[in-house]
Amino acid sequence: MNNAEIVEILKRHVPASILAVEEFRGDLTVVVRRDDIVRVAEFIKTDSSLAFDLVIDVLGVDMYRPEERFEVIYIIYSLVNKRFLRLKVRLPEDTPTVPTVTGVWPGANWHERETWDMFGIKFAGHPDLRRLYMPEEFEHHPLRKDFPLMGIPDSLPLPRR
């Protein structure tokens, strides 16, 4: 199975969900409509010829642009076909929310928590959307481009000397 065949199957079964297809040096990226991500995930996992059964990573990107500021990228692997696929969802700044894919790949749980912690992207329907790295009482999202490198003073209290 090559990339063209993957795209062909996707276009046949979920044409309305796919916004764009990009290929760079053999790596396939499919941009998916935000509300359809679970449907597409479900399809590529259960389709017997695609069988994208392993989630390698879920990550966020802050593009820091006026429109569609955030991106969520899902890196999916097929143990059957030994192929990677990258799904991409673009999110606006005012509602950075995307449905969770933990129902499809339970392994996405901590990846989505990390993305929430670092970028403040909410995963609707996530079973346990707590911060992964930062203390739970922390109020900011450090990998956003507008977060200062050295942090915000007094946002992380130290023990008293």
């Binding site: 930062m134 203390p135 450090p142 490198l149 050295m150 992380l156 008293r160 000397r161």
Partner: protein, 179 residues
């Protein structure tokens, strides 16, 4: 009450002070607070090659309640600072702290929102050791400096001196000093 009467007498107090300090400085049990790569050098310091037991500090205890000196060996994040401080608070007095390496002393190369830029922001430090990581000789030298510091501190009368800074690079020959 007994100690107060001794302090008034003068001579006996100073000699008792010397004995207490001598006993303390030659039996410093470390709390190995190894939280990143400096811990490897700290372990090497305890190995036969460098042999920290020459200075009476071979008894590394993993409970703070039996320790005299905390060796903070590694990067301390804000999240970890509460843990380090809690363990320090559980150590019985008198207690001392060695800040081992660039990370513990200043944040090191981790100039970031997540890393405390020096553990002296939330706990007292007696000796700072430079290096990334410091060699075992540097840690031994820091221990010797701490011993010197303890010998110079008044133990019964209170008070104390500021922190000692160990520069980076080859430590002054430990064999010559210990001879």
């Amino acid at each position: 009450m007994a100690l107060e009467s001794l302090q008034r007498e003068g001579y006996l107090v100073t000699r008792l002070d010397e004995v207490i300090k001598w006993a303390r400085k030659n039996s410093l049990w470390p709390m190995p607070m190894g939280i990143s790569c400096c811990a490897i050098e700290m372990m090497a310091t305890a190995s036969p090659r460098f042999d920290i037991s020459r200075f009476g500090s071979e008894v590394m205890r993993f409970t703070p309640r039996q320790c005299d000196v905390m060796i903070v060996a590694g990067t301390v994040t804000y999240k970890m600072s509460k843990v380090v401080r809690k363990i320090y608070d559980q150590m019985p007095d008198p207690k001392w702290v060695i800040s081992m390496g660039a990370c513990a002393s200043s944040g090191g190369m981790f100039r970031s929102y997540a890393v405390v830029q020096g553990i002296d922001q939330f706990m007292p430090v007696d000796v700072f050791v430079a290096g990334c990581p410091p060699r075992p000789e540097n840690l031994l030298y820091a221990l010797m400096e701490l011993q010197k510091k303890i010998q110079g501190e008044p133990q019964l009368g209170g008070g104390g001196s500021g922190p000692v800074h160990i520069p980076e690079g080859p430590a002054p020959s430990t064999t010559a000093q210990s001879a």
